[in-house]
Amino acid sequence: MTALKFLARRVAATAATLFAVAVVLFAASEVLPGDAATASLDPDATLEDVARERAALGLDRPWPVRFAEWAFAALRLDLGTSAVSRQPVVEIVAEPLGATALLVGVTAAVTVPLAMAVGLISGLRRGGRADRALSAFSVVAVSIPQFVTAGLLVLVFADLVPVLPAISLPPLGGTPLDRPEVLVLPVAALTLFGASWAGRIVRAAVIDADGMPHVEAARLAGLPERVVVFRHLLPAALPPCAHTFAWLLSGLFGGTAVVEIVFNYPGLSQTLVAAVRKHDTAVLEGVGLLLAAIILVSFVLADLLVMAVDPRLRAAAR
């Protein structure tokens, strides 16, 4: 019951946030100079052609009217049609969403355990040789811009030692999963950053938890270190970690543009960037809302996870 109430509140908040995001995206698209009519202008067009195109796309009406129209259609799950390619937004977004979900899924499957391991090792042996080496590596990996990391990976593994494909080209009639090697470099580029960044935060959480009285008490009681770590320390370190990974996941969904461009991976970020450039408001709203929804849902999930492991929060929610 309490979890339900919590969920209901969160769902309402999520809906309100999505609405706000929709308004902001629409307004932002309006503020940018030009519109879909000028963005896809034919060099042989005349100014009258531009005006006609604008009228045909309905862009000559005030934006609140167009927004209301779009919003009511969106409520009926009709996200409209691209002003550029004239395809339904749902069709345009479906393929990149699948591709991104795969990329993010594989990256998360590698990154989360790796970050936990890195964080635990360096947190428990802070100041030790392993900690210093891992910390130094993490700081470097986090500070190098992603396009450099990705470019270096291509240079080394596709050019100098050609063992992996330079771009993520799935086989004809298949998906990247049919040729998993195309995922290796994009996942590696994302993981290098993700695991280093999340590892630093896990390390801090582990250090904090390590100093807690109940962990100290468990140690003094003579429990084996394994039990201390997994039964007492980790649950205490989990809340900050869960939120870190929620951040990481949602960041990955919207923030893989650089990696997508370097490896020609046809994901959501590319779609978003192209929609902004072409003033394709319907596609922009579609992708933007999808990303916002993913981010909001992953935080709700993180909260639920934290509630599940932390008895105090369960009590507070009551």
Binding site: L32, P33, G34, D35, T38, A39, S40, L41, D42, P43, D44, A45, T46, L47, E48, D49, V50, R52, E53, A56, S82, V84, S85, R86, Q87, I92, E95, P96, A99, G151, V154, A158, D159, P162, P165, A166, I167, L169, P170, L172, G173, G174, I261, V262, F263, N264, P266, Q270, T271, V273, A274, A275, R277, K278, H279, D280, V283
Partner: protein, 516 residues
């Protein structure tokens, strides 16, 4: 990188559109490549290829390849040109009939008669008929086709099939340049009634068999009327980023990369496995600093002349384009049909200084942005060159994505960096310098507009060509463009790939061959 891609796409439309072509049909390359081949001729010294993979620019939001209503650039355009034939093309420096056998005007060029080639069949086995042409032109000539404006002068409703091989095309105004300004620009033909292009049907050398993610697969049309293609299967792989296209080529994932960066081309110049193919001026962008004659201080012809004389074109090409281009002489259309062979424009600092002094100009402002790679560097260099002529140039920088978005801004700025696709002069002047054109940034006077309209209406080919030469001369002497360089299309290919033709800035692979 990707930043310039988009805006260029708009202008590349012009390419597609048309009409650019081809001084040297195989991009004059570093030694390699086959010989020039027209459809049906032999493909050079190499061997036929079972499969060829081509990496071409493509964005996820681009339309499905093969749809003639939303063709844009790169991969979509490449597929379009292999699947469909056009009524006319600009090939190897001249206007050629493809599906048309003849195109003749009436006495005052208000109605044109298109006679069709015999013995052409579509991929579905049906023969080409006049009704197909009527349907095709109506479809690409009206919305939602993104090339509808090309057909602005055509009376589409009253177009008709006279018999199976004859189409009558009435115009709304007399146009002697109907062939080069309309048919050559964009006239793909598909069967009557075809309105869904998910499964495109054309009469071209390739049939589209499928699409997977960003890869489109085409197979040879063995019955092609222009000769059997030498490449059995053509895979067109859409790759957004120029650097990624080059990486894919180096890693062997594609055999040919369309459009690589100048830096990439320089880096790979010494490569043992890859060769860079330069498009020459025929396949290039014409880069300009455009002065608007309607606005001060460029309403004074002395100021325009002074700027033209102060510019060191070779230095701009060498530095801003890394030498991968050639100097231009203020008029678009060099090496293409109808060019007036205007004299090369030299630098004359003394005269420029004197003219600026006479006009009382000591300061200018240039609106600029990285609208094509190298434009910002060119603008900075221009500032140095003008400083040598005693004028201080301030650069007002805009983001490339927003550069063309606001059409009013474009017409209000006296001096701005600009670029055009290098097209035949008559097509360029007609499309871009007319009073209604959104990209008319040089503001030619009313008299010029009258002469331009008169030239377009001339039915006699010789007289019209003369009139357009005179307009080019007028633009050269009095106009507002400082077209300073041609930025060549740069491709990269696996060594030994030959027989690739470039027709209207689109690479055609139907006669391509591999290493012998």
């Amino acid at each position: 990188m990707a930043q310039e891609f988009d805006r260029r796409s708009v202008f590349r439309l012009g390419l597609l559109a048309g009409v650019t072509a081809v001084g040297a049909p195989v991009l004059s390359s570093c030694g390699g490549g086959g010989t020039s081949t027209g459809a049906g001729q032999s493909g050079g010294a190499g061997k036929p290829l079972a499969t060829l993979k081509v990496g071409a620019p493509h964005q996820v939001t681009d339309s499905e390849p093969g749809n003639p209503l939303t063709s844009s650039i790169g991969a979509t355009l490449l597929v379009l040109r292999h699947v469909y034939d056009s009524l006319m093309v600009l090939d190897n420096g001249e206007y050629r009939y493809q599906l048309a056998e003849s195109v003749e005007p009436n006495a005052d060029a208000t109605a044109w008669t298109i006679r069709l080639r015999e013995g052409v069949t579509f991929h579905d086995g049906k023969p080409l008929k006049a009704a197909d042409v009527v349907h095709s032109l109506r479809t690409v000539g009206s919305k939602p086709s993104n090339r509808a404006s090309v057909y602005g002068v055509v009376d589409l409703a009253n177009m008709s099939a006279v018999d199976d091989r004859t189409v009558k095309v009435p115009l709304l105004v007399p146009r002697g340049d109907f062939k080069e300004s309309v048919l050559v620009v964009f006239s793909p033909v598909f069967p009557d009634g075809l309105a869904q292009f998910a499964k495109p049907i054309g009469s071209g050398p390739y049939k589209m068999v499928g699409r997977n993610g960003t890869t489109t697969t085409l197979v040879a049309n063995e019955q092609y009327w222009g000769g059997k293609p030498t490449v059995g299967e053509l895979q067109v792989v859409g790759i957004l980023d120029a650097a990624a296209r080059l990486s894919a080529l180096k890693a062997g994932q594609v055999d040919y990369a369309i459009s690589v960066s100048a830096t990439g081309a320089k880096t790979e110049a010494g490569s043992a496995d890859i060769e860079i193919r330069r498009g020459g001026a025929a396949n290039s962008n014409a880069l300009s600093f455009a002065m608007n004659q309607q606005l001060a201080p460029f309403d004074n012809p002395k100021v325009r002349k002074a700027v033209r004389l102060a510019v060191d074109r070779q230095a701009l090409v060498d530095n801003a384009l890394l030498g991968l281009g050639s100097p231009a002489d203020d008029v678009v259309g060099k090496t293409l049909p109808g060019y007036a062979d205007l004299p090369a424009r030299g630098r004359d600092l003394d005269q420029a200084r004197r003219l600026f002094a006479e006009a009382g100009v000591t300061k200018l402002t240039l609106r600029t942005g990285e609208i094509v790679p190298g434009m910002l560097n060119a603008s900075k260099l221009l500032a140095q060159q003008l400083a040598e002529a005693g004028v201080e140039l301030t650069l007002q920088e805009s983001a490339p994505d927003a550069y063309y978005a606001d059409l009013t801004t474009l017409t209000k700025h006296p001096f701005q960096a600009f670029y055009y696709v290098n097209r035949p002069a008559s097509v360029h002047l007609a499309a871009v310098t007319n009073a209604k054109a959104p990209f008319n940034v040089t503001g030619p006077p009313a008299g010029y507009q009258t002469r331009l309209a008169a030239a377009q209406a001339m039915a006699d080919d010789k007289a019209r060509e003369q009139a357009f030469r005179a307009l080019q001369k007028e633009f050269y002497d009095e106009g507002g463009d400082v077209v300073w360089g041609f930025q060549e299309q740069l491709d990269a290919a696996r060594k030994g790939i030959g027989g690739v033709r470039v027709v209207q800035s689109v690479q055609l692979f139907d006669q391509a061959t591999g290493p012998a």
